[in-house]
Amino acid sequence: MATTRQEKGKTGDIVFNLINYTVFTIFTIACIYPFYYLFINTISENSLVQRGLITFIPRGIHLTNYVALAEVNELGTSFLVTVARTVIGTGLMVVVSAFAGYLVTRREMQHRTFWYRFLIITMYFNAGLIPWYLTMSMLGLTNNFLGYIIPTIVAPFNVILVKTYVESIPVELEESAFIDGAGYLKVFRYIIWPLSKPILATIAVFGAVGHWNSFMDSLILMQGAPHLQTVQHRLFNYLNQNTNLEAIMGRSGIVQDMLNTKVIKYTISMVTIIPILMVYPYMQKYFERGIMLGAVKG
């Protein structure tokens, strides 16, 4: 009796595992195969790609598509703009979130609850897209690089993350520094900042990905300044315009072989994915910590 039950359990186990592993494997492949497909099509013989013959294995490997892309000036400008906003925007955002997050942990702050709520409410309530756009326009932040930076400096969610983290640092550390005559800035610089590195790395990574992927603000704010479009915006334009693409390629004197909109679209897509894929393995732990911390209440 006992043995049959065990036997039954075993076959049940095997069937369960088989189904379980298969379903997860299929979903995982569905998640990564598109990236792989895109990639092999950018490095394979372009004529084969054109005929749709590259599906699983790359053939006739070459890198001329990527080399040719480097000659497209527009794309270079977009890269510069996006890298600039990623570096500057993320840097400012991290410093400000860290400092503001620290300030709101200090209980002696006058009207602390009010100031904290003043910030948090904006996560749940906003005026809407159009009034925001009109405000940006009124401030002169449309068609202006600063339009990418200034509105993103204070991120309420990141302030919450830092606040929660700083609250877990033993308060005695700060108190002893205060007794030694240190002010808030000094305590922040020499105690809070170094000890909060893990959470700051997390928000930096999220901020950087957000800036790199930014598309809507470029679309809405930079209508009159094509030279300030981000890479995602530029990519979106390319994906939707066949004639324009070939014109661009013709202008920059790219080999006839490249006159293939499909390959061009693939290559540009790949170029904008590569930075994310390259940093992803190193950043994964920060991403995961981010969502865990995000689960805490505001």
Partner: protein, 483 residues
Amino acid sequence: MDVYGPRNIITRFFEHCVKILVFLSAVMMFFPTMNPARVTELINRTISLFTSAVSYSRLTAEAVRAIRLGWVMENNFTFILLASMVICLAIFGALLGAGLSTGNLRLKRLAYKLTLGGGVGQILGLLGIYFVYLRLWESANLERVLPQISSGFGVYLAIASATVFLSLAVLALTPKAAADMPYEMERSKQLVLMYLPFAALVFVFSYLPLWGWRYAFFDYRPGVTALTAENFVGLKWFAFLFQNPATLNDIVRVMRNTLIMSTLGLATSWLPMVFAMFLVEAKSARFKRFVQTFTTIPNFISWVLVYGLALAIFSTDGFVNSLLLNLGLRTQPINYLMGDSFIWLKMWAWGTWKGLGWSAIIYIATISSIDPTLYESATVDGAGRFQKMRYITLPSLMPTYFVLLIMAVAAFLSNGMEQYLVFENSTNTAKITVLDLYVYQLGIKNGVIPLSTLIGMVKSLVSLVLLFSVNRLSKMVRGESIF
């Protein structure tokens, strides 16, 4: 010294006046009607003093032709920009002073020296603008240039003069601080002072737009009509929404799409939880790592790139068609991204593809924090795999699930628009346009500002009501809430 003496009461009154004046000048900096730098008709009515100081292109937007034709000297505009910058910097200096004025006597004296300096700086900047105004009279085409002194100029001059006068009075009325007195401020106020610049940014980008709601009550067309009393139409646009058949039709259609997409999302909101519960059942740690790593990647690419991938896989010359054609299973390619068949399901599928692995992480982490002895004792009691999942794992995930569910219900009207914007085309627009995308198309693309503002306003208010009711309900039913 007698704190309540008449001399002190007057000093305090003056101090408050200075602070109010400085605050006023700072706020006015963002209001186009108060722009003192508008000394010619060539400067647009919609730009504020702050804009004049930061954006040369906005300042000269309407003067480009006049400058090219030689009607007006370009360096006048450079000078206006510089003078505006001086005024803005002076205002920031005065603001800093107003902030520091909460400190001890020594700091207070420094503070009112700063507001004094700020006032003087503003006057110098205003003089600069006046100088440009005089020079503008020498322009070649006076009829087009129309030199003028705006009402903001007078107001600013009055405020700056009053600031200077009152700061001087405060300085004269307060005793000099001993040279060895340290600069000090109460700690509770120091904290507020350091926090204020950030609060100001939040105010400008999150609260100031609320003032833009007034557009919903005006007959406003960009560049044609302005926000003036005769264009005030009250609730006309509310009525328009229901009376104009075309608009009503649009709204009904858009609401249908929004509700369907949100309902699909809510109905499958348990998927990440189940994903996590089954993934942890896999024995191999390496397999789990592998699945987790690769299923979270799609979350970190933009919707534009998702669209790029969708093109590569599903367009006429994409993966699916190439494979089927080359295998001879089909003779004509089908573009799966065109047409509106199953579009809601397709959008849901892309959303799930992008977010499932990522959303599961939080549940996976919660499961790993469950006390393992619970499972051990359940095993001893003869519980099977599914029983353990049902009676141990699931109940421990429920609190997290409910918090996320509350958030999802509160965001019922906000599907985000990036996804729908990138996938939208003429063949599927009727079924893909959700509320957020509709507001974008109406307001930004077509420039119908009042109506799009109104719709966004109603949406914000309804979302707020939803958030509070769901939170309330959850508190009553489960004793859990997000705030």
